[in-house]
């Protein structure tokens, strides 16, 4: 590009003045106080705590990744936005947990998310269940939300300050996720014959993965007072589910119980493709900044 003796105008100067003063519609940046995106940065997690943080971080991340698919495909535009909000909340939780988990080994949240293989993931298999149709997604989200809500409620009292802080921030958001799923459980159950049938199938398909959520692991013994013993959360979960199911006139599905194993790296077959897609670009450029 050649320039003559004159100096080209700077971005958005005089010519732009004939438009409006806030040509790019900038909000006044000074007015905003930006809240921390990731909680607990700077603290180093003991190895066992890091392992526990992985459980929770991977649960949130895998669910967020699943939900990301819906954006631009939801049943109505308002729902695109609602699901987007839930996915964003979950990514926020995942970033905090994974960044804390990574602190034990000097790794970043992105190294944790993008450069661990399937067997290194610690998500429970419920979170890995495919979206299916909207009813499946709602059934899975409802269970996930009820579980996370019960968990974070108790984790707020953890002796580990960082875990407690992440739980305290996350529970308010999960509260909304449970509400969103509950509203849709009621509407699909009490809507049309078709929606009711689909929801019942959805719950039947994901229910085998409920049991795994509440199994205690050896890590729970090691982290008494820090981690929440999953088995103790079951009554709160059952109570909440029973209340919603009663209103929706649904019955708790009976069927098989999946073997699980997510906490020790044994995953549902959906996780491999999910991670392959999520990690493909980052792994193509190891060490790159984005």
């Amino acid at each position: 590009m050649s320039t003559t003796t004159g100096t080209p105008p700077a971005a958005g100067d005089t010519t732009a003045a004939t438009l409006t003063s806030d040509e790019h519609g900038n909000i006044e940046l000074g007015k905003l106080t930006l809240a921390a995106e990731v909680i607990g940065q700077g603290t180093v997690a003991p190895p066992a705590v890091a392992e526990y943080a992985l459980w929770l971080g991977d649960d949130a991340l895998v669910l967020a990744q699943n939900l990301g698919w819906w954006i631009s495909r939801a049943p109505e535009l308002e729902e695109d936005i609602a699901i987007g909000n839930i996915a964003l909340d979950l990514i926020g939780h995942a970033r905090s947990f994974l960044s804390y988990a990574g602190s034990a080994s000097g790794r970043t949240e992105d190294e944790m998310a993008y450069f661990r293989g399937e067997e290194e993931y610690r998500s429970a298999q419920l979170f890995e269940q495919a979206n299916g149709d909207f009813a499946h997604t709602i059934a899975r989200n409802f269970i996930a939300g009820c579980f996370q809500h019960a968990l974070y409620e108790r984790l707020q009292g953890s002796h580990d300050e960082t875990l407690a802080a992440i739980a305290a921030k996350s529970i308010k958001e999960v509260d909304y996720h449970v509400d969103h799923a509950t509203q849709w459980v009621l509407r699909l159950a009490g809507g049309t014959a078709k929606s009711r049938r689909r929801l019942i199938v959805g719950f039947a398909d994901v229910w085998p993965y409920v049991d795994e959520l509440f199994r205690d692991e050896p890590l729970n013994d090691e982290l008494a007072g820090v981690a929440v013993r999953q088995s103790t959360l079951r009554p709160a979960f059952d109570t909440r589910v029973a209340a919603v199911f009663a209103e929706a006139e649904l019955e708790v599905p009976v069927g098989f119980t999946a073997t699980g194993g997510g906490r020790v790296g044994k995953h549902h077959e959906t996780l491999g493709p999910l991670l392959a897609e999520m990690q493909v670009l980052a792994r193509q450029f190891p060490g790159a900044a984005w």
Binding site: E76, E78, I81, A82, N85, D179, H180, Q183, R187
Partner: protein, 101 residues
């Protein structure tokens, strides 16, 4: 006369949304959305109109529940206050210079 935009043949009806920006402020009309019922309308409004911390309280109302003044009677309807200057403080000039009035 209902609010503009109501069409009866939509699967989900139209709702008007009002948001209180912060404590001490009035609820202000911010726009509309579609929702199957009031419960979902409040939630959709939260997701749509307060994504950036814009509010502390939300009202929603079915758009067809709003009654508006008749636009054709505009002149007659809104011209009456003209000439009734005694409703404004500046009408009273004799007290100028007197403090605390």
């Amino acid at each position: 006369m209902s609010t503009p935009g109501v069409t009866s043949n939509e699967v989900w009806p139209l709702w008007e949304v009002f948001v209180r920006g912060s404590r001490g402020m009035s609820h202000v009309h911010v726009g509309s959305l579609h929702a199957p019922d009031a419960t979902m309308a409040v939630r959709n409004a939260r997701d749509l109109y307060t994504r950036r911390n814009e509010g502390v309280s939300i009202w929603v109302t079915p758009a067809d529940a709003i009654t508006t003044s008749d636009p054709d009677a505009k002149g007659a309807f809104f011209e009456s206050p003209a000439g009734k200057n005694y409703r404004h403080a500046i009408y009273y000039t004799r007290s100028e210079g007197v403090k605390h009035l």
